[in-house]
Symmetry: C2
Subunit: 476 residues, 2 copies
């Protein structure tokens, strides 16, 4: 029981009344009885886990535009209804990209025999010609290196090989996957292989979205397993290496989908909204258990538990299960557009999208004084190890369209150290989510959601919208 | 540098003259200068690693009968020649099994949508009908359970789901893979899925040989990833589950191959042979880096280093790179047959086939007094953490045909705790072998091989051949 330790340690620190523990009188806001009810239920009833199993085992993968995505929308609606939570669907047009047959191999040479490569086309990639494309590989570590190489990139397959070792480095290297393909195409490359953004590998490639710049040729792009990136590196040390790449993926016409929106109406200020979000879509590999089935389970369960409170909280708690976070962000944009008139009344928004791991604290994006306010509400989360305000900014890809409206963001941060072992890969399956961790994070989300909706105070809004969206370390 | 710790700790224990350390006078046998030379060279020259890279990156997988296997034979011969070690090829007819297109999926039902399953046909499996076969799954934990279920198994796909968690449990469960299919067929099953024998999984199936009993129907069999075995278990808890299995594998006519035999002639008793073995074939997935490229690299390097000694050791050191360990053992049998007349002169045999990990000690299968004799030679391995005789019996699949001749077996045991993370899977690649560990095990093998060939004494032969081959924990 590895997760028992932080809990015990935190309890112990409470019992021994360490100097850091606030005095009991410092607890403000809603009643301790509600904290007991929400946190106790989240930790003991096992609903979040059961819900996640329904989504991952019952439905499986749910890439935008797929039958799985549509099934997930209907499942979520039925589940909210079964929980007695008001729910509706808001239309979103989503892209529909479909993986085809795909393979890659190193061609044999005088120095070595042919090697199969373990790949996954990047989401959104164009296909190769039907017979595949064959080209020499050129290895780079950064976008700048592509530019510096100039003509040497022409006609080549660019291998973006990087040194990601830890989860916190995801943000540092994710640009190679999203932006590298157009940078390579501009330099004349004919294809791209990106070393998987992974912290563990058993020859297991990790996909993710490729972003094609307007006006730049669209060239095929795939993620390659860590092992195969290292193989290519070793082979390249001895001379030229040719790779044959075959991708049969295609982009079909946009499909109809939905954001699933559910809410528990506020008793006193129903027009004021606390948004709890997660995204319902996943990649087409694995079953999106951590990304973002876990987030979906947490916010659905928060709504169910808050919905059972009598009286209801002061403000409205609204859960949004966004469509199309992974390859388009159409759900996040559609929500911001459809609700533009009421965004000034969104008093806080939270998105869970970093896996179903144990909670480690709370992050904020709010105006001056926000941290002090929130800190006073976190006492009930101390025994879960989540009672502190952490450095770093709250965010979430689906929330980024809310930035111009200066909606305060709150985040329950989870321990992401093992997230990128499975993220965007076939291995993102239910067995990887620890029911204890999921229950603890669910408890934290339920409490934070409730308290934001209940306390008399509202968070100060952030002073000015940034010029571009902040990057959460574990998103998208 | 995780492997630095045991080394330092062992050195420290020598320096502090702990009561367990034997007095310097206890060192018997060959000169300390030879120990310095062999162990120093193995630890500093990096040849074993370079050789393993040639085999895995240069040739790759090498299943019996494949082009890779033939290329490996020629490579090994060239490499021994380049090292100045006498080498020849001994013919072996090997089976030729070829993997085809393969897939499996859970069919959708009212309870769940369809799920793809991550599988690998077991080596030697027959194919399914071209359109695949579809049947309900029945889950069992043991061979006995199949028998106990009787008629309930008829027409079903049997899922052998087991609880392997640690490397040392491999021997306990490997029979489900090798023998389970015929047991299931006898009970009327139409196909078999075996949970991969794995200690880590990222949806990564592990293959291995299936053994069809004479007179029993041959039904198709595949390994399924740990995750998918768990998925099937969860789905079965709610009712019937149907799986569609498609295997396109086939067995072609036997192919010509070779054991690669090399030797350093003994200076005084050339007719007495110390055999150092490993197997040159691998499965068709991954590049057989741990299984058994590492063993090949160790014994080749031992021959190279021993071959440079002047004078040569008293007896002949013979390296045998066996063909077809994985799916037939034809190489081991061919060697025993071809050399039947000289097996009485085989004074010891050692096979390295548990991965390229750090050495942890020495095991034996010899007559009374053998352990005391060997113990007195192991002082030079203490600083590598391999200076003790361990519980357990030495063996090796390719050595098992030597049992009736009562050849003493010696083994350098390695730390197998992570072996089954990659064993028989796509993930058994060069990057998984730590060069430090490989160098240390190579040093131990070189020393043990040398000392067995040099000291005046020979190991007492084991008293009686057992009725069946002993099972090494990490073989085949």
């Amino acid at each position: 029981m590895p997760s028992a330790l932080p809990l015990s340690a935190a309890l112990l620190s409470l019992l021994t009344a360490s100097p850091k523990a606030p005095a009991p009188a410092a607890v403000t806001g809603p009643s301790p009885q509600v904290a007991e009810r929400l946190i106790g239920a989240a930790l003991t009833e096992g609903h979040a886990w059961a819900r996640l199993a329904e989504l991952t085992d019952g439905i499986g993968s749910r890439l935008s535009g797929s039958e799985g995505a549509e099934a997930a929308v209907q499942w979520a609606k039925r589940s909210f209804e079964a929980d007695g939570v008001k729910v509706w669907l808001e239309p979103v047009k989503v892209p529909r990209w479909v993986r085809g047959e795909e393979s890659a191999r190193v061609l044999g040479s005088e120095r070595f025999r042919a090697h199969p490569l373990s790949i996954l086309a990047l989401g959104g990639s164009v296909s190769t010609p039907a017979g595949g494309l064959t080209a020499e590989v050129i290895e780079v570590r950064s976008l700048d290196e592509v530019v510096a190489l100039g003509d040497k990139v022409k006609g080549k397959i660019v291998l973006f090989n990087h040194a990601m070792r830890e989860a916190m480095e995801y943000g540092k290297y994710a640009g190679l996957r999203t932006r590298g393909t157009s940078v390579a195409a501009k330099a004349g490359a004919v294809g791209v292989l990106v070393r998987s953004l992974a912290t563990a590998s058993l020859r297991s490639p990790h996909t993710g979205a490729v972003r094609y710049d307007e006006g730049v040729e669209r060239i095929p792009a795939a993620a390659v397993s860590v092992e195969d990136a290292e193989l290519l590196h070793r082979l390249l040390a001895g001379g030229p290496v040719k790779v044959e790449l075959k991708l049969g993926c295609q982009t079909l016409p946009d499909a109809d989908s939905f954001n699933v929106v559910a809410e528990v109406k506020g008793r006193e200020k129903p027009q004021e909204v606390v948004l709890l979000g997660a995204h319902l879509d996943s990649w087409d590999v694995g079953t999106g258990a951590h990304d973002d089935g876990a987030g979906v389970a947490m916010v659905m369960e928060a709504a169910r538990l808050i919905g059972k409170l009598k009286p209801a909280p002061r403000r409205t708690v609204r859960v949004v299960l966004f469509a199309n976070e992974e390859n388009g962000l159409r759900g996040g944009r559609a929500y911001a557009e459809a609700h533009a008139a009421e965004l000034a009344n969104h008093v806080a928004a939270l998105e869970m999208d970093s896996g179903g791991f144990r909670p480690v604290g709370v992050v904020l994006r709010a105006g001056p004084g926000g941290a002090e306010l929130v800190r006073s509400w976190l006492r009930p989360l101390e025994a879960l190890g989540a009672g502190s305000i952490l450095q770093g900014e709250a965010g979430g890809a689906d929330l980024s369209p809310l930035l111009p409206a200066r909606v305060p963001f709150v985040g329950v941060r989870v321990d992401i150290s093992r997230y990128f072992d499975v993220h965007h890969s076939e291995a993102d399956t239910l067995d990887k989510v620890d029911p204890k961790d999921l229950a603890q994070s669910t408890a934290a989300v339920a409490w934070v959601g409730y308290v934001l909706a209940e306390v008399p105070e509202v968070l100060p809004r952030p002073e000015a919208p940034p010029t571009e969206a902040p990057k959460a370390p574990a998103a998208p």
